[in-house]
């Protein structure tokens, strides 16, 4: 063989092998093993499981979601992240994102979130909740603030206008309670937890001017906290049975089954209330922002990349791709088509004609109005779950009557907060 022909043959072979390698690389799957996700039950995630094949085609691997209810999910993810690290993706929320981020149990999301999936399209409020220390840590699955949802028929029958102020709410709730007819003025959350009873109590605390800390000094043992607690306990006298030791499920369940006249709850309730599959009060309800000066409890839940289970960059990219795909516009459109109101987070979907067509102008307007009073009510600090849960126990004791000294409870919490700050 002539040297020129030999060189040409070798060159061609090299080019061919290089091309084949490039194609192979381009088609190399992003994921080499199924993505393990620890989450709490969400309709959006259940729907997502119908599209497993799509993710398999996209990434080369499937995914598996383990569900636990909110408190269990928090406990399990905390234990898993700090010890064995079995899960690639954690479901985190506004209450524990600071703890997970500062403990380095999760990694900054946007480092591994493919740009094509457009993180900036998420509702700005939810992006804010997902941000800690200047970085975004999770992609939202749900979020928002509070809305007041009320039964038009019950209020009309009682000759009461929907309350626009907290004083009106306090005055109206007892008038609307009629146990003989199985109707209660309001439904609150009594079950312990920073995301349970404390979450519903905080708007009252903020409405009366309360603040958690002044620098490093606890500032919550104040008249505002006492007044907020007194108001909360007063309203609890007219709260639906089962809510004294219940949380979101019990209070919304009572409203959706027609037992409650007024409910101030997180925004996903409004979508459930207009859905005949989940609500017995469709067509009888109205929406307004929470009575002034109650602030709406700004919140957000979403998916974050675990640090321990994703030891190398490739695993992190795989988890990032899963999160991006799960929260993509395409999947969010599927959730809109399935009328999963509480699972919508992208501005492109929330401002779409399809959204307005399904949920009507009233709800859209109420959502816009409530956005103005939505605030971060909790202490944005890694130690918040610890402090919030401690107050949750004391508050549950007050609600169920095992203790009666509000000031004593706050002083006990203040002592605990001082210990936390000292660490």
């Amino acid at each position: 063989m002539k040297p020129v022909r030999l060189a040409a043959s070798l060159g061609a072979a090299f080019m061919l092998s290089a091309t084949v390698s490039t194609i192979a690389l381009a088609q190399a799957p992003v994921c080499s093993a199924p993505v393990k996700v620890l989450a709490q039950p969400r309709d959006g995630l259940t729907l997502l499981e119908d599209s497993k094949d799509e993710f398999q085609k996209l990434s080369g691997a499937s995914f598996q979601i383990d569900y636990l209810n909110e408190n269990d999910r928090r406990a399990k993810s905390r234990a898993d992240a700090s010890t064995v690290g079995n899960y690639n993706v954690y479901y985190v929320d506004e209450a524990n994102v600071a703890l997970f981020a500062s403990s380095k149990w999760i990694v900054p999301l946007t480092d591994y979130y493919p740009a094509d999936y457009d993180y900036a399209d998420f509702d700005p409020g939810r992006q804010k909740v997902a941000t800690y220390d200047g970085k975004a840590w999770f992609a939202p699955l749900t979020g928002g603030g509070d809305l007041m949802v009320y039964r038009k028929d019950i209020l009309e029958a009682a000759g009461i206008q929907p309350p626009k102020t907290l004083d009106e709410l306090i005055a109206d709730v007892p008038k609307l309670t009629n146990p003989d007819k199985g109707v209660y003025g309001i439904a609150l959350r009594g079950a312990r937890g920073s995301g349970a009873n404390v979450w519903r109590w905080m708007p009252f605390f903020k409405a009366y001017g309360g603040q958690w800390f002044d620098g490093d000094k606890p500032a919550f043992n104040s008249d505002a906290a006492v007044k907020a607690t007194e108001t909360y306990l007063k309203l609890f006298k007219d709260s639906a049975p089962g809510t004294q030791t219940g949380s979101w499920d019990e209070s919304t369940g009572a409203f959706l089954s027609g037992q409650v006249a007024i409910l101030v709850e997180s925004t996903p309730l409004s979508g459930m209330a207009v859905d005949p599959k989940t609500s017995q009060v469709v067509g009888k309800i109205g929406f307004l922002p929470p009575p002034a000066p109650l602030t709406g409890g700004g919140y957000g839940h979403g998916l974050a990349i675990a640090a321990k289970a994703n030891a190398d960059d490739a695993s992190k990219k795989c988890a990032g791709l899963f999160i991006a795909w799960a929260t993509s516009k395409e999947n969010e459109k599927r959730r809109l088509d399935a009328h999963q109101f509480g699972e919508l987070n992208r501005t492109s979907i929330l401002s779409s004609k399809e959204f307005a067509g399904i949920y009507g102008a009233d709800l859209g307007q109420a959502l816009a109005e409530t956005g103005k009073v939505t605030a971060v009510n909790f202490w944005q600090d890694p130690r918040w779950p610890d402090l919030g849960d401690r107050w949750g126990i004391i508050l549950e004791e007050l609600v169920t009557g095992t203790r009666t000294d509000i000031k004593g409870g706050l002083t006990e919490l203040e002592t605990y907060a001082n210990e936390l700050v000292k660490k």
Binding site: D180, P241, G242, Q244, D386, D389, E397
Partner: protein, 288 residues
């Protein structure tokens, strides 16, 4: 003189070593952690020696948890044994052999249910508006609401009733089978002496069953210490801290609230010591 075989040692020693490792490693590790100040959110730690144990005695929730655990132990063990003996004797006295078999089958079903499932079923049964267990109260009082799981005075008993429902009925079957194994002569002799039915059981059959009944009681005492799943599902220790037992509080401190694993371990170690001492004393007293 026959030569001693080393075969038993060859078989027994490895098993004993494995058992020793399985039981001692976690125990020693728990004790070591209890002497440190480990928290889930930090990898840094140091030895604080007995500081966690001292803190426990100034912690009102720990003291409450000790009291709740004692109440739980007494209520569930006494009620389970009472139900077991009462139902066992009743079946022995009034039910035909065929009917006894049917009752036995029915009474075994509750204990076959996983604790978490049983807890969920009863949580719904106790719902103040829809619960089947609260329905008679609503019916008798014209619709008044009774929420046993949210009342501090009733919550512990409501949860304990589920434990008794599972174990009391199961033990009743065991008591019945024990009664059936007794020799008939002492019972016939008592009847000939015109002893009443309750006297026969109080003075003849149950004293004859003293040893197995005590064993059953010990089994239940140990089982009652592991009530975490039932309480966790039904009340999470609430209302307030009314049903917060030691294991519930330890888990709360370790994994739900503050991630204080060392503090939680200190509780577990104290629980272990208290259990060993109490059971040894009781066992010796019973043996005496």
């Amino acid at each position: 003189m026959p030569r001693r075989s080393s075969l038993p040692v060859t078989f027994v020693v490895p098993t004993l070593i494995i058992l020793l490792i399985l039981s001692m490693v976690p125990t020693v590790y728990a004790v070591v952690i209890a002497l440190q100040n480990r928290e889930l959110s930090s990898t840094a730690y140091s030895y604080v020696w007995f500081s966690n144990f001292v803190d426990l005695f100034f912690d009102r929730r720990f003291l409450n948890a000790v009291w709740v655990s004692v109440k739980w132990e007494v209520v569930t063990v006494v009620a389970t044994m009472a139900v077991a003996i009462g139902l066992g004797v009743l079946m022995f006295e009034v039910a035909s052999p065929r009917l006894r078999n049917i009752y036995c089958l029915l009474f075994i079903i509750p204990v076959l249910l996983p604790r978490v499932s049983a807890a969920f079923v009863w949580k719904f049964a106790y719902h103040p508006l829809y619960g089947i267990a609260t329905y008679p109260y609503r019916l008798l009082t014209g619709g008044l609401i009774f929420d046993p799981l949210s009342k501090p005075a009733t919550a512990l008993f409501a949860v304990a009733s589920v434990d008794v429902w599972q174990w009391g009925l199961f033990f009743a079957v065991i008591v019945l089978k024990l009664l059936e194994t007794l020799p008939p002569q002492p019972i016939e002799a008592a009847r000939l002496d015109h002893a009443r039915r309750w006297q026969i059981h109080a003075y003849v059959t149950l004293p004859m069953l003293k040893a197995p009944l005590i064993s059953l009681m010990f089994v239940k005492m140990i089982e009652s210490l592991r009530s975490f799943d039932l309480i966790y599902v039904m009340t999470r220790g609430g209302p307030g801290v009314a049903t917060e037992t030691l294991d519930m509080y330890a888990f709360s401190q370790g994994f739900i609230e503050s991630g204080k694993v060392s503090y939680a371990s200190a509780m577990a170690v104290l629980m272990m010591i208290a259990t060993v001492i109490t059971f040894t004393m009781l066992w010796k007293r019973v043996q005496a």
